[in-house]
């Protein structure tokens, strides 16, 4: 088992003929993901990825012809909101948006619309999902992960890879690794993922990688205390980040004195959740559970 994506995932790629879209589609196919269709307006009828994937002008056409149950979005930021809405409107239940730089007000409308449609969004500005040995949706490097009992959820990209790689090096595998994205407004939050891991029979414990900005980590700490039976190990990036400055991710900013690493670490420690001092401690903490 895994969460959200597995060997039954039938993936649509929006923006498949772009540089990123085509490259990562190739990587996903090589990993074993079923990429059933691509969409690029104006390029319907072509084939992408060395002829392996049919391309459609619209998501509705791709859905009618190929029956995808998930979509991944690589289109440029100014078109990303439209692409996500189009996928949800065509009835796709899971949309993963890799694109960085989507305006916040666009995401507010997109999230409200997807809530109405009952569709789930992961991202934007995220590396996607990887269920080792089953499917990879997004841009995570597939070979760093192995199947196993740990669920990994993070707001970051390379920091997640770093942690997954360190777990794998210790022989600790993963059910699903998921990057929820570094923007202020995101579709899927820590709590959503924690609940899915709690309900996934093969996930035995969870690693949560947070960072400064917002209060998603604080809510996650309360959720862990009240609702979770499985152990969770955490790490929070940004202890040295100055207030008022955006640390790369649009959502990684300490504003009005809130969103600091110290507050988040205190929230986890208050409910008995271990917080690693640095990423390399995580495999040790996980091995102890």
């Amino acid at each position: 088992m895994a969460i959200l994506v597995d060997k039954n995932t039938r993936l649509l790629v929006q923006g498949i003929t772009g540089r990123e879209g085509e490259f990562h589609s190739g990587q996903m196919i090589e990993y074993g993901t079923q990429v059933v269709a691509g969409v690029t307006p104006g390029k319907g009828g072509q084939r992408a990825c060395d002829g392996r994937v049919p391309v459609f002008d619209t998501v509705a056409e791709a859905v009618a012809a190929t029956g995808p149950n998930a979509s991944v979005v690589y289109v440029p930021a100014r078109f990303a909101a439209d692409a996500i809405l189009e996928a949800a409107d065509a009835g796709i239940p899971l949309v993963v948006c890799i694109t960085e730089g989507v305006p916040t007000l666009d995401m507010i409308r997109v999230c409200a619309y997807l809530d109405q449609k009952g569709a789930r969004l992961v991202g934007p500005n995220c590396p996607g999902l990887l269920s080792p040995g089953q499917a990879k949706v997004g841009i995570m490097p597939g070979h760093i992960a192995i199947p196993g009992p740990v669920g990994v959820v993070s707001r970051s990209g390379t920091l997640t890879y770093e942690v997954v790689y360190a777990l794998t090096a210790r022989g600790i595998g993963q059910t699903t690794c998921i990057g929820i994205g570094g923007d202020p407004i995101i579709g899927t939050t820590f709590i959503d993922v924690l609940e899915m891991f709690e309900n996934d029979p093969l996930t035995e414990q969870v690693v949560l990688i947070g960072e400064i900005g917002g209060s998603d980590e604080e809510r996650a700490a309360r959720f862990i205390a009240e609702r979770m039976t499985k152990p969770v190990t955490t790490f929070i990036a940004g202890r040295t980040a100055p207030p008022g400055k955006r640390m790369g991710h649009a959502g990684a900013i300490i504003q009005g004195g809130t969103g600091t690493a110290a507050e988040k670490i205190a929230a986890f420690e208050a409910v008995g959740v271990p917080v690693a001092d640095h990423p390399e401690q995580i495999p040790d903490l996980v091995a102890h559970n």
Partner: protein
């Protein structure tokens, strides 16, 4: 991106929010002319992108055009929290009976804009949130139905605004929300919104922060960026497409990925050093990008060592290593360099760095990287021995 008070207020006014009569001056002579046109007492307000202008002496009254010229001259020569005052706003002075706060921000947890009002105008909202959180009234705005009359009424009643001002308050609240949407703002704030002796509501001070990700659809607003909002280095980084924040430590950091970059800063501190910067070189790590990043780091005179922390995922470590060596050829760093490459093709990457002929310490773990960088920066004998080898 932050906007100045005068820019914010003009944008609010374009959406029906009443603001005082006034104009902007860059010289005392201009200030005098504006004061003459306005007549009567004026407020001379420094236009800098920091709070606490009043306390710093950057907001003063002037009763005559002569006085306005003198006061403007004094304020224009000031520095407020390190920022030079290049412009002053001269506004007609208002006869203030009551001050309130009205603002909109993005509520991340609820994924909605939230409008906040407080009867404690003129005080920073964060300060009110700390001292008297009950005084702040909030309404969440549904993006599909917008801000409604019953919501602005709830705010007006919540802060105890007299019934005769509620219609004007509603118009101003809606105008503020329209400006927030029209500009892709992440914050739009009127503080204070005043009730004058004549019974009018007036936005005496205004502030907007724009979402950088929305600027592509507002080229007119993008041009309003104040050069003093960021350091010269930060500007250079932004123009080179790098994500960079200057800090005050001695170890320059070059990392791929924002989360990993923060974790790298933190571990330097954990082992007793100080990060000189946050820097995310993004994916790919091509030579010219690495070179640009390296130039930025080395331009900081505090930097005594540089730590490279690269995770090779889709990007291979050997490609990144070639990028780093090519950048060295161009930039010729003289400080000690510590490199940690991990992930895809890490051994090949390390070999390329080891064979490059530059004084480079290659390590495998992040902890080791931080410890070596801290030692190198402190010029400890052990590190120097290794550097010479």
């Amino acid at each position: 991106m932050k906007l100045h008070e005068y820019q914010s207020k003009r944008l609010f006014a374009a959406h029906g929010v009443p603001i005082p009569r006034g104009d902007v001056a860059a010289t005392p002579e201009e200030a005098r002319r504006i004061a003459e046109e306005l007549g009567g007492t004026v407020v001379v307000k420094s236009q800098v992108l920091v709070g606490g202008r009043g306390k710093a002496g950057g907001i003063r009254l002037a009763r005559t055009p002569d006085e306005a010229e003198v006061v403007a001259g004094e304020i224009l020569g000031m520095e407020i929290k390190g920022l030079p005052v290049r412009k002053v706003l001269l506004d007609e002075a208002a006869d203030i009976q009551q001050e309130i706060y009205l603002g909109i921000v993005v509520d991340r947890a609820n994924r909605r804009p939230v409008m906040m009002a407080s009867s404690e105008g003129g005080v920073e909202i964060e300060e009110v949130a700390r001292t008297d959180p009950e005084a702040i009234k909030k309404v969440l705005i549904d993006p599909f139905v917008g801000l409604r009359g019953y919501q602005t009424l709830a705010l007006a009643k919540g802060i105890g605004l007299a019934a005769e001002h509620r219609r004007a308050f509603d118009r101003i609240a809606r105008g503020l929300y329209e400006s927030f949407l029209a500009c892709d703002a992440s914050l739009a704030e009127i503080n204070p919104l005043v009730v004058t002796a004549a019974g009018d509501l007036l936005a005496v001070d205004g502030k907007m922060v724009l979402d950088d990700n929305g600027l592509f659809r507002h080229p007119d607003l993008a041009q309003m960026r104040d050069v003093d909002e960021e350091t010269a280095t930060e500007r250079e980084a932004r123009e080179a497409g790098l994500s960079y924040v200057q800090l005050d430590g001695e170890i320059g950091c070059m990392v791929n990925g924002a989360g990993l970059a923060m974790a790298t800063m933190d571990i330097i501190k954990h082992f007793g050093g100080g990060p000189a910067n946050f820097l995310d070189i993004g994916g790919g790590a091509k030579a010219e990008r690495v070179a640009a990043a390296l130039r930025l780091i080395l331009a900081d005179p505090n930097v005594e060592a540089v730590l490279f922390n690269i995770f090779g995922g889709i990007t291979r470590c050997d490609e990144v290593a070639r990028g780093i060596v090519a950048a060295f050829e161009e930039v010729r760093p003289t400080v000690p360099l510590v490199a940690r490459l991990v992930g895809t093709n890490e051994a090949e990457g390390r070999a390329i760095l080891d064979d490059s002929g530059y004084r480079l310490i290659t390590v495998t773990t992040l902890a080791e990287a931080a410890q070596k960088a801290v030692a190198a920066a402190k010029g400890e004998a052990a590190a120097r021995g290794e550097l010479g080898a």
